[in-house]
C-alpha cells in the first residue's frame, strides 16, 4: 500500500477546483491581497506625496533644526562654533566619502563631535507638528529637531528661583530612516545638550552647585525623545500589527478550512467512505493536516512577504526565518483545528469549539504586544509567544536563531502530541460513526415526536446569534470605518495647529477611561467646527449610503441597483411622492424640535440671546446643513431602511423595530453627557421613526425628519446634538441659571431631557392611531 499517494490525494483535494474543498476559497486571502495592494500603493505614493516627511532612503545628513531657540542656546552655539569648525576641519570633505575613509567602520560612519552640524532656527507654536518638522529636516539636511518651549529661559529662571517645580521640557524629533541617526541623536543629546545643561546650570544655578554636590545630578531640563518617521513606524508595525495580522490570518483561514474538513465531512456523511479505505488513520490525519497547512499558507506567506518588504527587510536569511516561524505556527494551528474537527460532528459545533482557542491565541498576541519592549528572553523559546516575538524580531532585522530553533522544536513537539491524540480519537467509533447512527436516529426520534432535537436547537441558536451579530455590527463597522477615514485628513491638517499641540500635551495626563472619553469629545468638539471635517463627514455619510445599497443588493440578491435602493426604503420612481414625503418630513422634524424648544422656553429653562450668525460662519452653516442631509439619510438607512426589513425576513416585525431602536439608542450612548433618560428618549424616537417607516413604507420622510431635527437643534436653536456641540447657529440659546437638566437634557442636548420625551410620546400616540386606522382600512378592504 502506497500511503504517500493517498496523502497526496487528500492534500490535492484541497486545491481541486471542483474538489472536496474547492469552493472553500479563503476570503482571508482576498482581503489580505486588497489590503496589501493599498499598502503598496501608499508606500509608493510616499515618494511623491507631501505629507510624508521624507523618502525611505537618503544620504546621511548632519544638521539640526532648533525650534523656538532660547537666547541661551543661541549663545551656546556661538560659543562652540570655533570648536566645531576645528572638528570639521579634522574630518575633511563631508561630501566625499573616499577622503573620509579613515572615519568609516564596516557599516557605519564614525561621527565624532558636531563639526558638520549647522543649526537651523525656526519658530512655531505647534510643538508636536512632526509633519512640519519632517519637512524642515528634509529641506535643511537635518536629522534632528530640537523643540524648546517658547519661554524656555524664563522657565529655567523661575525654576531656579523655586517659583515652579516642573522641569521645562525639550522635545527632540529625529529621523529614523537610518540606524545612524539614532546614535547621532544619542551623542547629540548626551554630549551637546548635556554640555548646554551644564552651561545653564553654571549661568543660573551656581548657588545650588556650591551648596551641595548632589544637586548637580538634577538636570535642569528633561529631554523627551520622540521617535517617528517611516522606520519607527515600520518597527512598531513589525512588532505589533504584522505579527497579529499573520496570527489572525492563520487562525481565521485554518478555522474556516480546518473545521470544515472532518467535521464538515461527518456532517455531509462523506467521511465514512474515507475511513473505509485502506489508508491508515495517521495518514488520513496527515493528509488533512497537509491540506489545511498548504491552503492556509498561501495567504499567510503572501502577507508575510509583502509586509517584510514593506518594512524594509530585504535579507534572504530573514525571509527564511520569517517563513519558518509562519510555517511552524500554521502546522500547530492546523493540528488544533483538525483535532477539534475530529471531536465535533458539525461545522458549526467545530467552529464554536474553536472560537475559545481563537480568542485565547489572540489574547496571547495582545499580551505579547503589551510587553513587547520589556519581554523576557525566556518567552522567545515558547510556542506561540516565540513565534509572535520572533516574527517581530525578524522584521526588525534581529533574527534570534536559538529562539527560532527552540520555539520551533517545542511547537512541533506539541503538534506531534496533538496529532497522536487525533489519530487515537479517530480509532474510536464515538468520533467516527456516531453521526451516522446515534445522532441521526435521535434527530429522527425527536422529529417523530414533533420536537426539535437538541442538536437542531443548538444550530438554530448559533445561527440566529450569528445573524444578529452580522446585522448589529454591520452598521457599527461601516460607520466607524468611514468616520475614521474622514478624520485622517483632518488630523493631518490639525498637526499644524497650536490647539492640537495643547491637546496632545494634555493627553499625557489622561488616566481613566472617562478621561479618554472626555478627550475624545473635546477633539470632536474641535473637529465639528471645522468645515474640512464636516465636508469629509458628508462624504463619509454618502459612502455609508452607497455601501449599504451594495450590501443589500448582494445579501438580498436583488437584481438592479434601483430595486436594491428601493428595498432599502428609498423608492425612486415617483418624484412627486419623494418631494411630498421629504418636504413633510422636514416640516415635521422642524415642528417637533420647535415644540421641544417651546416647552423649554415656557417652563423657563432657556432664553435666546438673539441672532448670532456672523457672515463668516454662514459658509460653515451651509456645510453643516449639507452634512445633516446625508447624515440623517444614512442613519435612517442603517437603523430603519435596512435593519427592519433584514430582521423582518426572519422574525416578526416588532423584533426589528425593537432591536433597531435599542441599537440606535446604544449607538449614541457613547456620546458626551449621556444619561439613562437620554437613552430612553433616543429609543423612543427610534420607535417613532420606525413606526413612521412602517406607515409610509419608505424612509424619505424619516430621513428628512432626522435631518430637520438635528439641523434645527444644533444650527438653528444652537443646542447640543446628542452630546456633540454644534457651533454655527442662527439663534444662540442660553440655559437659565436655574435650568433643570432633567428637562433640558444638560450636556447631551434636548434629546436627554423630558421636554423631548413629551413631544415624542405625543407623536407616538398620533402615529399609532394612524397605523391602527390604516390596518383597519386594509382589513375592511379585504
Amino acid at each position: 500500500m502506497n500511503t504517500g499517494r493517498g496523502i497526496k490525494a487528500i492534500i490535492g483535494s484541497f486545491f481541486r477546483k471542483r474538489g472536496q474543498m474547492g469552493a472553500e476559497a479563503s476570503s482571508a486571502a482576498f482581503l489580505a491581497s486588497v489590503f496589501f495592494v493599498i499598502a503598496v500603493a501608499c508606500c509608493a505614493a510616499s515618494f511623491v506625496m507631501w505629507w510624508f516627511p521624507y523618502h525611505l532612503f537618503s544620504d546621511e545628513v548632519y544638521n539640526v533644526v532648533v525650534v523656538n531657540a532660547p537666547d541661551s542656546f543661541v549663545e551656546y552655539n556661538e560659543e562652540t562654533q570655533a570648536h566645531r569648525d576645528e572638528l570639521a576641519r579634522s574630518y575633511g570633505d563631508r561630501y566625499n566619502y573616499f577622503s573620509n575613509w579613515g572615519h568609516m567602520t564596516f557599516f557605519e560612519y564614525r561621527y565624532e563631535g558636531y563639526g558638520w552640524t549647522e543649526f537651523i532656527y525656526k519658530d512655531t507654536d505647534a510643538l508636536y507638528d512632526f509633519v512640519t518638522f519632517g519637512g524642515w529636516m528634509r529641506d535643511n539636511d537635518a536629522y534632528l529637531t530640537v523643540v524648546f518651549p517658547k519661554d524656555f529661559d524664563e522657565q529655567i529662571r523661575l525654576r531656579q528661583e523655586g517659583t515652579i517645580s516642573e522641569k521645562p521640557q525639550i522635545l527632540t524629533y529625529y529621523r529614523t530612516n537610518s540606524m545612524l541617526y539614532s546614535s547621532f541623536k544619542n551623542d547629540f543629546i548626551d554630549e551637546y545638550l548635556g554640555n548646554y545643561q551644564s552651561k545653564i546650570r553654571a549661568d543660573y544655578g551656581l548657588k545650588i552647585t556650591s551648596v551641595a554636590d548632589s544637586e548637580i545630578k538634577d538636570d535642569p531640563i528633561t529631554t523627551v525623545e520622540n521617535q517617528y518617521g517611516i522606520k519607527a513606524f515600520a518597527d512598531t508595525m513589525s512588532r505589533t500589527f504584522i505579527p497579529i495580522l499573520l496570527f489572525v490570518i492563520l487562525l481565521y483561514s485554518s478555522m474556516s478550512i480546518g473545521t470544515n474538513v472532518i467535521a464538515g465531512q461527518k456532517e455531509r456523511g462523506t467521511f465514512t467512505g474515507i475511513l473505509l479505505t485502506p489508508m491508515p488513520r495517521y495518514a488520513i490525519v496527515l493528509g488533512y493536516l497537509g491540506g489545511v497547512v498548504l491552503k492556509t499558507l498561501i495567504p499567510a506567506l503572501i502577507v508575510a512577504t509583502i509586509s517584510s518588504l514593506l518594512v524594509g527587510q530585504f535579507n534572504p536569511a530573514g525571509f527564511l526565518a520569517l517563513f519558518l516561524y509562519v510555517i511552524v505556527l500554521e502546522i500547530f494551528i492546523a493540528a488544533v483545528t483538525i483535532m477539534i474537527s475530529v471531536i465535533n460532528n458539525t461545522v458549526v459545533s467545530a467552529q464554536t469549539a474553536f472560537l475559545p482557542i481563537f480568542l485565547i491565541l489572540v489574547a496571547v498576541c495582545v499580551t505579547c504586544i503589551q510587553s513587547v519592549s520589556e519581554r523576557d528572553d525566556f518567552y522567545m523559546f515558547l510556542p506561540v509567544h516565540g513565534q509572535f516575538y520572533g516574527i517581530g524580531d525578524v522584521l526588525t532585522g534581529n533574527t534570534n536563531l536559538p529562539g527560532l530553533i527552540v520555539s520551533s522544536i517545542a511547537t512541533l513537539l506539541l503538534t506531534a502530541i496533538m496529532i497522536v491524540i487525533t489519530v487515537k480519537l479517530l480509532h474510536s467509533e464515538r468520533y467516527t460513526v456516531s453521526i451516522d447512527t446515534v445522532n441521526s436516529k435521535e434527530i429522527r426520534r425527536f422529529k417523530e415526536g414533533g420536537k426539535s432535537s437538541p442538536l437542531e436547537i443548538l444550530n438554530k441558536i448559533t445561527d440566529g446569534f450569528s445573524y444578529f451579530i452580522t446585522e448589529l455590527f454591520y452598521p457599527l463597522v461601516v460607520l466607524s470605518f468611514y468616520q475614521l477615514l474622514a478624520m485622517i485628513p483632518v488630523i493631518v491638517s490639525y498637526m499644524r495647529k497650536p490647539e492640537y499641540s495643547a491637546f496632545i500635551s494634555d493627553l499625557r495626563n489622561v488616566g481613566t477611561i472617562s478621561d479618554i472619553f472626555d478627550k475624545t469629545f473635546e477633539i470632536f468638539g474641535i473637529f465639528f467646527k471645522d468645515p474640512l471635517f464636516l465636508s469629509m463627514m458628508t462624504l463619509g455619510y454618502v459612502l455609508i449610503i452607497i455601501t449599504y445599497f451594495i450590501h443589500a443588493k448582494r445579501v438580498w440578491k436583488i437584481k438592479g441597483l434601483k430595486n436594491a435602493v428601493a428595498s432599502c426604503g428609498f423608492p425612486v420612481t415617483d418624484k412627486k411622492h419623494i418631494a411630498k414625503h421629504y418636504g413633510l418630513g422636514f416640516l415635521f422634524g422642524f415642528l417637533m424640535m420647535s415644540s421641544t424648544i417651546a416647552i423649554m422656553v415656557i417652563t423657563g429653562q432657556i432664553k435666546f440671546s438673539g441672532f448670532s450668525l456672523s457672515g463668516a460662519a454662514i459658509g460653515t452653516f451651509l456645510v453643516n446643513l449639507l452634512m445633516w442631509i446625508p447624515q440623517g439619510a444614512s442613519e435612517e438607512l442603517m437603523f430603519r431602511g435596512y435593519m427592519i426589513p433584514a430582521f423582518n425576513k426572519r422574525y416578526k416585525v416588532f423584533v426589528g423595530v425593537f432591536v433597531s431602536s435599542i441599537l440606535f439608542s446604544a449607538f449614541h450612548s457613547l456620546n458626551a453627557g449621556f444619561t439613562p433618560l437620554a437613552s430612553f428618549n433616543l429609543a423612543l424616537i427610534a420607535v417613532l421613526f420606525a413606526l413612521i417607516y412602517l406607515y409610509t413604507g419608505d424612509i424619505w420622510m424619516t430621513s428628512a425628519m432626522h435631518t430637520a431635527w438635528n439641523l434645527s437643534q444644533g444650527n438653528i436653536y444652537g443646542l447640543q446634538v446628542s452630546g456633540n456641540e454644534a457651533s454655527n447657529t442662527v439663534f444662540s440659546a442660553v440655559y437659565n441659571e436655574n435650568a433643570k437638566s432633567i428637562i433640558t437634557g444638560g450636556a447631551f442636548g434636548p434629546e436627554g431631557g423630558l421636554a423631548t420625551t413629551t413631544v415624542t410620546v405625543i407623536c407616538l400616540v398620533i402615529i399609532i392611531m394612524l397605523l391602527v386606522k390604516k390596518s383597519r382600512k386594509a382589513s375592511n378592504k379585504s
Binding site: 500500500m1 502506497n2 499517494r5 493517498g6 497526496k8 490525494a9 487528500i10 490535492g12 483535494s13 481541486r16 471542483r18 474538489g19 472536496q20 474547492g22 469552493a23 465531512q265 455531509r268 456523511g269 462523506t270 465514512t272 467512505g273 474515507i274 475511513l275 473505509l276 479505505t277 485502506p278 489508508m279 491508515p280 467509533e429 467516527t432 460513526v433 451516522d436 447512527t437 446515534v438 441521526s440
Partner: protein
C-alpha cells in the same frame, strides 16, 4: 468469507442493540438481512464493515479480524451506506479518481476501470457534473461504482435499492447477481421482499437484535407455515417481537 460469531453490541449499558448474532457468508453467496427499522441491521453491517467494534463476539473477514488487520480488511470490503452522501461540490470523475488514489489503484488500470464502471451504469455523460445537479438514482449508482472501485471480494450493501425507480433498481439487482456469479460474497439489507426473494441465497430475519429465523426463502415459508414470503416475514416478526 464472512464469519460472524455470537456478536453483541450495546450503545448504552442497560440496553443491547445486538443480542448474540452468528452467521456465515460464503463466496458466491448473497446473504439477506431483513428486519424492521431499529432491529439492528445497520449496526450489524457497520460492525462487519469495521466502522464499529462489537462489545463481545468476533467478526472474521476472510479469516482476518479487524483488531489486527484493519487495513487488510478495508482492502477486501466494499461498503455502501443506506443514505446517499456525496460532496455536493464534487463530480463523479473527481471522486472516482480521489478514491482510486486512496485505494492505491495503479494509474494504468484506473482509466479502464473507470470507463467500464461508468459505462455499465450510464454515468459517463454525467462524469463532470456536480453531484448537486444529479438525480438520486444517478448518485446511488455512482456510490455503488465508487464503493466497488477496488473490486472487493466482500460486498456489504445497506438497502442499495432504497428510493430508486424500477429501472435503476433492476440495474442494481442485475449487477449484484453478476457479482455473485463472479464469486463475491455479498451481504444485503433490504425492505423490499421481491428483491430479497429474487437475490438472496440465505436470509436472516432480524428482530430486536436477534436472528429470529434463517434459511432460504422456501425454508422460511415452510417454517412459518404460510403461502408467501411476505406473510412468513410478518408471522416471524409477530412471534418474536417483544413489546
Amino acid at each position: 468469507m464472512i464469519k460472524v460469531v455470537d456478536v453483541h453490541k450495546s450503545y448504552t449499558k442497560d440496553r443491547e442493540t445486538i443480542k448474540g448474532v452468528s452467521f456465515e457468508v460464503r463466496k458466491g453467496q448473497i446473504f439477506g438481512l431483513l428486519g424492521p427499522n431499529g432491529a439492528g441491521k445497520t449496526t450489524l453491517m457497520q460492525m462487519i464493515a469495521t466502522l464499529m467494534k462489537p462489545t463481545s463476539g468476533q467478526i472474521l473477514i476472510d479469516g482476518l479480524s479487524s483488531d489486527k488487520d484493519l487495513l487488510e480488511i478495508h482492502r477486501k470490503i466494499g461498503f455502501l451506506t443506506n443514505e446517499i452522501k456525496l460532496d455536493p461540490m464534487s463530480t463523479p470523475n473527481n471522486l472516482f479518481n480521489f478514491f482510486a488514489e486512496l485505494y492505491d489503484i495503479p494509474a494504468n488500470e484506473l482509466k479502464a476501470r473507470k470507463e467500464e464502471s461508468f459505462a455499465r451504469f450510464g454515468i459517463t455523460p454525467f462524469a463532470d457534473k456536480r453531484f448537486n445537479e444529479l438525480s438520486t438514482g444517478m448518485k446511488q449508482k455512482i456510490s455503488i461504482a465508487i464503493s466497488l472501485i477496488h473490486n472487493p471480494p466482500v460486498i456489504i450493501f445497506d438497502e442499495p435499492t432504497n428510493g430508486l425507480d424500477i429501472l435503476t433498481s433492476k440495474q442494481v439487482t442485475d449487477y449484484l447477481k453478476e457479482l455473485k456469479d463472479k464469486g463475491h460474497a455479498i451481504i444485503l439489507s433490504t425492505h423490499i421482499f421481491s428483491v430479497a426473494e429474487e437475490l438472496c441465497d440465505d436470509i436472516a430475519i432480524l428482530v430486536d437484535g436477534r436472528i429470529a429465523a434463517q434459511g432460504t426463502v422456501q425454508e422460511l415459508i415452510k417454517q412459518a407455515e404460510v403461502e408467501t414470503f411476505e406473510k412468513a416475514f410478518f408471522k416471524i416478526y409477530v412471534d418474536n417481537h417483544v413489546e
